[in-house]
């Protein structure tokens, strides 16, 4: 591999980050408030719920399944938290939310992995049922969270805002789980080829099941973090959250067909989308162009990724005559 090639590969690998940088520079040149530490902190805090959601979704996508019910899980567990756990200390509230959402994820997992229902349909069904139950317990009215929970938004750990701590913890655990444990590697195997994985002796069903449990639990976590931020939820809470989560995950390079991607990408995708939205507000852009600009940025990011992986594939192919490439 000669040095020119190596530089090309490095550049290509860094392409998404370069694009990110370009976006920062454009917004930065339009508003001097944009490029500040405080604003970046803001971006990460705001991206936190979607990032957590996307990390959970990544597990499901890696097994070539999909989870449309995450928004409903957020809404339902949010209602439980706001309506029934107003008085308890927040760590207990969080535990209950996590357990409840993991159970909801387990329902999805059981429907998909053990009963063999296509995940799109299964989670579409649970989406409706989940939202329906949430509406009925809240009577479709707003659910307000007590000060104990909303004040968490302003809490910090060693000076780091709580939402960032939450994302960081979730990210590290998820990354270690996927990259450093047998379960994680088996998730990739199952996602690549379910039949082959079964033949190889992997408990494919159980693995898929647990991915849904993880997605459910992280949906609850995301809901908790966003509850601390927005203070109250209404009947539209979490609507279409599944699309934001899938978008962030896929933007970060995870394939809808399984076996490819990772949580780093999910985090990156969520941050990129949030950065664009943040930049537009900061430069006080015309509200009508918001969706146009964000969509444009997503499009460019995906296009760059597509071209990049195409070229990387070509450059990194093994050759029979390696000395000619060197």
């Amino acid at each position: 591999m000669n040095s020119r090639n190596r530089i090309t590969i490095l550049l290509l690998q860094a392409a998404p980050y370069l694009l990110f940088l370009a976006i920062l520079l454009v917004f930065g040149s339009l508003s001097d408030r944009f490029l500040s530490l405080a604003n970046f902190t803001n971006i990460v805090i705001q991206a936190a719920p979607v990032a957590i959601l996307a990390i959970g979704m990544t597990f499901v996508l890696l097994t070539a399944e999909i989870d449309l019910s995450v928004g409903a899980v957020m809404y339902l567990t949010g209602c439980i938290l706001g309506l029934y756990l107003g008085g308890v200390p927040w760590p207990i509230g969080l535990m209950v939310v996590l357990v409840a959402s993991a159970l909801l994820g387990a329902v999805n997992g059981a429907l998909v992995a053990y009963l063999g229902i296509t995940s799109f349909i299964a989670t579409l069904g649970t989406l409706f049922i989940g939202r329906g139950i949430a509406m009925s317990v809240s009577n479709t009215a707003s659910v307000y969270f007590p000060e104990a929970i909303t004040s968490l938004n302003r809490a910090t750990v060693f000076g780091i805002p709580s939402a960032i701590v939450a994302v960081a913890v979730v990210f590290v655990i998820a990354w270690v789980l996927l990259q450093q444990t047998p379960f994680g590697r088996q998730v990739y195997a199952v996602g690549q080829d379910r039949d082959a994985a079964t033949k190889a002796g992997l408990p494919a069903r159980r693995i898929v099941f647990f991915c849904f449990v993880i997605s459910g639990a992280l949906a609850g976590m995301a809901g908790f973090v966003s509850s601390t931020q927005i203070g109250a939820i209404t009947a539209s809470y979490g609507l279409q959250a599944e699309f934001s989560a899938i978008a962030a995950a896929v933007l970060g390079g995870t394939s809808l067909f399984g076996g490819r991607g990772g949580v780093k990408g999910a985090l990156f995708g969520a941050l990129l989308i949030q950065t664009a939205a943040n930049g537009l507000v900061i430069i006080n852009a015309n509200p009508y162009i918001y969706p146009l600009v964000t969509a444009g940025i997503i499009f460019i990011a995906v296009a760059v990724d597509g071209l990049r992986s195409h070229m990387l594939e070509r450059l990194e192919r093994r050759f029979i005559r390696p000395w000619e490439i060197a």
Partner: protein, 345 residues
Amino acid sequence: MLVSEAVSRRAEREAGRSRWKAAARFILSEYLVLALCVLYTLVMIPFVPEIATVEVWQNILSDMMPLLIVCLGQTIVLIIAGIDLSVTAIISLASVVGASIMTQSDGYLSGPLAAPAAMAAMLLVGAGIGLLNGLSITRLNMPAFMVTLATTNFFGGSAIWYTTFHSTTTSIYDLPDMFISIGDRDIAGIPIAVVIAVAAALIVHGVLAYTILGRWLYAVGKNPRTAYVSGVPVRTTILSAFILSGMLAALASIVYTARLQTGTPILGERILLDVIGAVVIGGTSLFGGKGKVIWTVFGVLFLVLIDTTLKLLGASLFVIYVIKGSVILAAALLDTLRTRYLGVR
């Protein structure tokens, strides 16, 4: 060869022994969703007796039509293992573009040509966005999900913005009668919308079942590598699928717009999950290579039927959500049980 003869003879014998079973299988495989529709209707009669009236079935039929047209396009795209999230934006943008051309208050065109020209423009919008989707996927190596997510946000946003230049409110009204008649007139007793949808369904069925393009679509969906090595123009095939999907969405937009007599930029914003849901419930696979028009027809019927009964029930939103979710799950469960125990499909 000995083996083949023996095997096929045995197969014949077994087939003969259980002809009734084969018949049951046949019905269950292709017409399960239809059977479920019948079953569901029967179950619902005590709760909403109106379901047994002609008027309600006319409503069901007319409600099905535009949704069916969009779903036809989605079926094609799912067959090639793609997905088209942009259909909703196409419906919205085509609606306001068409309306802005033909509206009698300050439209671009007037006179008898306004409506046909507007409809052509609407189809063009669909084809154009489909082309953009297709090119991005084939030339830029982008995943269909992301491409169409980006285009749906972009063109959905554009539709809202576009409207502000043509109307002081949020929609465009005063469409010519010729256009509106698509929504409320009949040809020989059959509503025009039904004629359009049935024609579209027949054409798409024809393409999928009897043409070279149809076979290419399935082949690309099953395995694009093999298709490419076998000389199939994979890129053109993918491109065609997205253009067709775009144009069918635009055609649906014509029907929706005519029915509401208004071009609105949020038309169709909410139907995405219904569209994909109906197609997948019908039996088309999200992983490509599998799908049929008739399945989609049944899937759409199933969803519209549920929706209609729930509307007639007039129950509160959460009851409706829970029932709808449960019915979808129950149908899916039946589907897998029969796959498991009868070994069909």
